[in-house]
């Protein structure tokens, strides 16, 4: 009995020390982590909606028993020209969070996958960007410096995500062939491709159902 108390006390001391040190690190890093996440979000927002000059604060609306988040996008005159919608779905093996930018008619300006942990080489290819240079060019580039102005400012959007731009809700279905008016699945990763497309579809239809009224153009559902 005495032994058990002693062991328990020792473990308590260790746990207490661990807790105190973790609290310290958490206090030190909390703000930087929040700032880094905010920066990643802002960069993503601008990348997929180049026409917008600034974005509003995060707003929420209820969907069933959950809440969905969105941001308003404004042009230089402060006129609302569209929205960016956050939506998370279950992918093949991980939750996938997608940011979808739409204009006021519901046409997609662009999408960006903010987080996912799908199978490397298959599902994770939704975030893959084809290499711009070969290894040999890069090795040669160590000798000859590439001029700074040649380098792009932001990394290009992955081809899978780029194909959403310009599409409307009715075109959001997944096919396996190259196409212009649907989404082409990543080879061998149909489930992840479907999940991303579903995230975009649900985000838009939820938004028009609960927040904005669908515009009266024939392309809307």
């Amino acid at each position: 009995m005495k032994q058990i108390l002693r062991y328990g006390l020792i473990l308590l001391c260790f746990s207490g020390l661990a807790g105190v040190s973790l609290h310290g690190v958490n206090v030190l890093t909390r703000e930087r982590i929040a700032a880094a996440q905010q920066r990643a979000l802002t960069e993503g927002q601008r990348q997929i909606f180049p026409a917008a000059a600034r974005f509003g604060e995060q707003k929420t609306f209820p969907v069933g028993n959950k809440t969905a988040q969105y941001f308003e996008a404004f042009d230089t005159n402060g006129v609302c020209i569209g929205y960016e919608l956050l939506h998370t779905v279950q992918g093949y093996q991980s939750p996938i969070t997608v940011l979808t930018a739409i204009d006021r008619r519901g046409i997609i300006a662009g999408i960006k996958i903010l987080s996912q942990a799908e199978t490397p080489g298959l599902g994770a290819e939704v975030e893959a960007v084809p290499a711009s240079r070969t290894l040999w060019q890069a090795l040669a580039g160590l000798v000859r410096r590439v001029p700074a102005q040649v380098r792009p400012a932001a990394p290009p959007l992955p081809p899978f995500q780029a194909q959403f731009a310009g599409k409307s809700l009715t075109q959001l279905r997944v096919v396996k062939q190259p196409t212009r008016d649907a989404i082409e699945a990543i080879a061998g990763a149909t489930i992840t491709s479907e999940a991303v497309t579903k995230a975009v579809r649900d985000a838009i239809s939820n938004f028009f159902l609960h927040v904005a009224h669908p515009p009266t153009s024939e392309q809307s559902p």
């Binding site: 080879a187 061998g188 149909t190 489930i191």
Partner: protein, 313 residues
Amino acid sequence: MARLLHVSSSPHLRTSDSIPKIMWTVVIALLPLCVFAVWLFGWYAALLIAICVATAVLTEGLMQKLRKQKLTLYDGSAVVMGILVACNLPPGISWWIPIIGTFVGMAIAKHCYGGLGYNIFNPALIARAFLLAAYPKDMTTWISPVDATTCATPLGILKERGPGELLSAYGGKLSLYKHLFIGNIPGCLGETSALLILAGGVFLLLRGIITWHIPLSYLATLALLTFLSGGDPIIALLAGGVMLGAWFMATDLVTSPFTRRGQVVFGIGCGLLTFLIRRFSGYPEGTSYAILLMNAATPLIDRYFPNRIYGTR
């Protein structure tokens, strides 16, 4: 202990069959399929078969050299493996992809496990499974034997669009059965003609290379399960690779059980798995995975269905 294990498992009966004789008989049984594939899909099919056979033979030679073993290139086992890999390829695949697959099948699935007689898995099926995982798009792009455009296999249509579409695509039930039986349909090089596979299988049966236990229990299980689940058992048997698998790959002497009872269990397992994969997975066809999984179960089957020791009950 190690010395004891050198004794091969029963039966220790002597027969006049040698490895070359068995293997070259299998090659003869496979030849009609190859000729039909060339007639159906053109000379490119002949090139693919030649590439697979050449890669298999060269890899076998290389591995035997590396492992400092006697070269056995004339026993025909590499030729059989090469032809079977080719039979499992879509006819329009890029010529260099089969080289990778055949090399992996021969070097890893056969020689890393100890060579002929020691491999757990059928090397030709490992080659197919590896390529299916490595180049999923190439391995599932089919060309039509009529006009060489890309199209879907009968099982692909069945999976994606349902049985009604399949019937209308081939103009009615009888016409569909006839197409599937003769084999002028899209599919892997050697899997399309049920007629020629049956002919080859019966030839092997008559020559005593294989017995009826695995093919019949395999096909009967698949047909019964398909019928019970409301599908068409004739389509299930004739379409896809199950004929080729049941007669030529599940019957591989090395990777299937020794005893008759074990072989029936093996066949039933293959049929059950093929049915489950076709019915419930994302793949239209499951023959190769079904046989590979049962290959893995073979040692277990041999353990639970051993030979009766002579003189006991």
